[in-house]
Amino acid sequence: MKWMSNYGVLIAFFLLFGISAYFQGEYFLKPDNLRNIVNQNVPVGIMAVGMTFVIITGGIDLAGGSLIALVGALGLTFMNKQISGGGSEGMAAILGSALIVVLGGLAGAVQGTLIAFGRITPFVATLVGMVAFRSMTVVLANAGEVRSLSKDVWPDVGIGGIPIPFIKDTQGNPIVLYYGILAFIGVILAGSFILNKTRYGRYAIAVGANERASHYSAVPVNRVKVLTYTLSGICVGIGAIFLSGKMNSVASGSQGMNFELDAIAAVVIGGTSLRGGHGRIWGTVIGVLLMGIITNMIVLMGISSHFQGAVKGAVILLAVLLQREQRDV
C-alpha cells in the first residue's frame, strides 16, 4: 500500500500512456504530438513547479493565472515602447524577459510578505492577487489585448528551438525542441535541486510539516514563506515569457485563466500533500503530463471535449485515492 501511495501516480501515467498508445498510437506516438503535449503545458508546468513549493509549505497560490497575464502584458508594453523607440528587437526581448521574471518575483514577494508578516491566510492573500492582477491587466489593455510589435524575436521565443536531427516530424523535417520545453526542463531541474539540496528546501518542508516547531527550531519561518511565494512568482514570470511569446500577445481577459487550478491539480495528482510538509517535483511533472495527455487524447479520439472536465476530475480523484494516507484514528 505504501508503495502504491508513493508510485501510484507513475502507474496511472503509464496506464494512460499505454491506453493512448494502444487506441491512438498512429497519432499519439508521433514525435510532434508528444512534443506538442509537453509544449502546450509549458506555462502551466513551470507554474506548477513553483506551486509545489507553495503547497509543501502548507500554502496555496491562486494568483498565478492572473499574474501570468499581468506580467506578460507589462513585459510586452515595455518591449513595444523599446521597439517603437527604435530599440532592437533582440535587446527589447532580453530586457523584457528579465522584467517579466523580476515583476513576477516581486508580485510573489508582496504576497509572501502579506502572508508571512501580515498574517493573512495564503488563500485570502492570493485570492486578492488573483482578482487584482486580472483587473490590472484588463485596465492596462483597455479590456482588449496587448500585442507585441516584435516581428521576429519574440514570436521566435514561442516557436523557436533546437532541431533534433535524428527525430523527424510529420513533414520529415528534424523536430524542433522549443525553447519553452528547454526552459521547463531547466525549471524542473532547478526546482528539484532547490527542494532536495538546499537549506531553503529543507526549511520549506519543515514549515509545512510543523510551523510552530520550525519557529522553535530557529527556522526563519517568515523568510521561508516570503521566499516561497517569490519563487512561485518567478516561475509564473518564466511561464509568462513563453505564453506571451507563443501568442505574441496577451489577451487581458482570458489569458492564463484557471492556470492556477490546473497547476494545483497537477501538484495534487503528483502526490504532494495539500496539508504541507511533503512533496516532490517529479510527481508534479507527471501530474502536468498526465493532464496534457488527457486533453490530447480527447481531441485525438474525437470525443466531445465537453467531457474533458469529467475525465480530468476522475483522474484527479483516482490519483488522490491511490495516494491517500492511512488515516490515524
Binding site: 529543507r202 519543515a206 510552530r212 516547531a213 520550525s214 519557529h215 522553535y216 510538509g277 484514528v329
Partner: protein, 483 residues
Amino acid sequence: MTLVVENVSMDYPGVRALSDVSLDLRTCEIRAIIGENGAGKSTLLKILSGIQSPTRGRLIIDDHAVRFAGVKDAEHRGIAMVHQELNLIDTLSVAENISLGSEPNQLGLLRRSRMNETARLALKRLNSEIPPTKRVGELPLASKQLVEIAKALAQNAKFLILDEPTAVLAERETRDLLDLLKLLKQEGVGVIYVSHRLDEVCEIADLVSVLRDGELVAELRREDGLTSSDLANRMVGRELQDLYPPKLVDHDGEPVLILDAVRFDGFPGPVDLEVRAGEIVGLGGLIGSGRTELAQGIIRKRRRLSGRMSVNAPAYVSEDRKGTGLHLSLSISVNTVMANLRHYSGLTLDKGRERQAANVWIKKLGIRAKGPGVVVQSLSGGNQQKVSLAKWLETQPKFLILDEPTRGVDVGAKSEIYQLIVEMAKSGLGCLVISSEMNELIGLCDRVVVLRDRHIAGELVGEEVTESNMMALAAGVGIEGAA
C-alpha cells in the same frame, strides 16, 4: 455489567502488539492497566474503545460476544474513552461539546436549552461548576478533561477508559481527578485507568493489570498490597535501580543564565534567577503558574519588558512534542539537525553527514529505531523525547531548558532520560527542569524554584526540596526555612 476480554491477540505487519490477553472488567471498580511504552496498552485501549478489532479473541459484554463496528458502537454499548489528547472542539461551547453527535433536537432544530441542561447535570455529577455556555477553548486543561469525562457520562457510559489522564495535570488537579474517579466508582461506573504514575495507581486501583511486551504478566489486587517499586519492577521485568541517578555535588561553574529583575510579556515577575554550568535547577508550580511562559521568555519567544537578562547558548526542549517540539512527520535525521542545519550545509545540504550525526545521537542516547531515516511519528514517546533532546544537544547549548522532560514517557525510558540529564550537567551544561511531577524535581534537582501566579513564590535548596514545601509554595501557604 461485565466486560470480558477473552484471549485477545493483535497482529500488525511484523509485530505482535498483543498476545493472548484476557481481562475480566467490572463496574464499580477501578482497574489500572500499566506497562512500558510498547507493552501493548494503547492497542488494548483501541480494542476496548472500538477503534480496532482484534486479530484473534473476542470481547464479551454481559455474556454476549460483541464486535464493535466503531467508536460510536462501543459508546452505544456503554464504553467511552477519554483520550490523552482530548477530542474537544475548542470553538464550541461546553454544552455543544458534551452533546456532540447526539444533539437534542426537534425536527432537526437544536434544542439549546435542553442541551445546556444536560451538560449542567453531567457536570454537576462531577462536582464541577463549569458554565455550559462557556467556550471550551477558554477553559484550562484540567477543566477540559472534566468536560470530556462529562461527555462520556452524558452518553451513559458504564465503562470509562482514561488514557494518562494526569499526565497534563498539576498536583492539585490530579488530586481532584483521583477523588472524582473514586466517586464515579461508587456511583457504579467501571473505571479503566492507564497511567505511568505508579503512586497514583497504588492509591486508587482495586486491581492492576501489568502488560509487558504484549502479554499480561501480572494481575495484582489492592488487598494484596500495592507498591510503586513492585509495580515498576513488574513492568520492566527487572529490578529497577534507583530511578534517579546520584546528584552532583560540585557546582561552581560559570553562570549560564542570569535574570535580573526581568519581566516578560505575560509573565509580570519580576524574576531574579541564576543557573550555573553543571547545575540542575528545578522549576515547579501548578499548571498556569507561568512556567512555560518564563521558559519562552528566556529563549526569546516572548518579549522582555524590563530587567537584564544574560543567557549563554540556550536551548529549549519543549513539553509539547507534537506542537512545538518535533516535526513528527519527518525523519529522525532531519529532526536531529533541524535547529543546527547551517552546520550541515554549505551551498547544498549534506545528507550523508546528517545521517552520520543522527546515528551518533541514536547510539549516544539509546534511541530505539531502525535507523536515522525512520519517521519520528512511529517512535514511542520516550524515543521521541530523546530525538527532541538530540536536536537541541546538537546545537551545543550551554544552557538547556527541559520542559516536562518525561511527559508521556514510560518508566524505563524515564530513568534513561534522568541519567542523560545528569550526564549533560556533568559535562558542564546548566539545566532548568520544568516539571509537574514533584518526585522528579526532588529526585533530580539541586535547587527548585517554585512559581505561583506568574511570580517566583520561593526557592528551595538541598534538604528543603520536599513535596510539602513545594506544595506550600505553589499553593501560597507560607513555610519555614525557605527563601
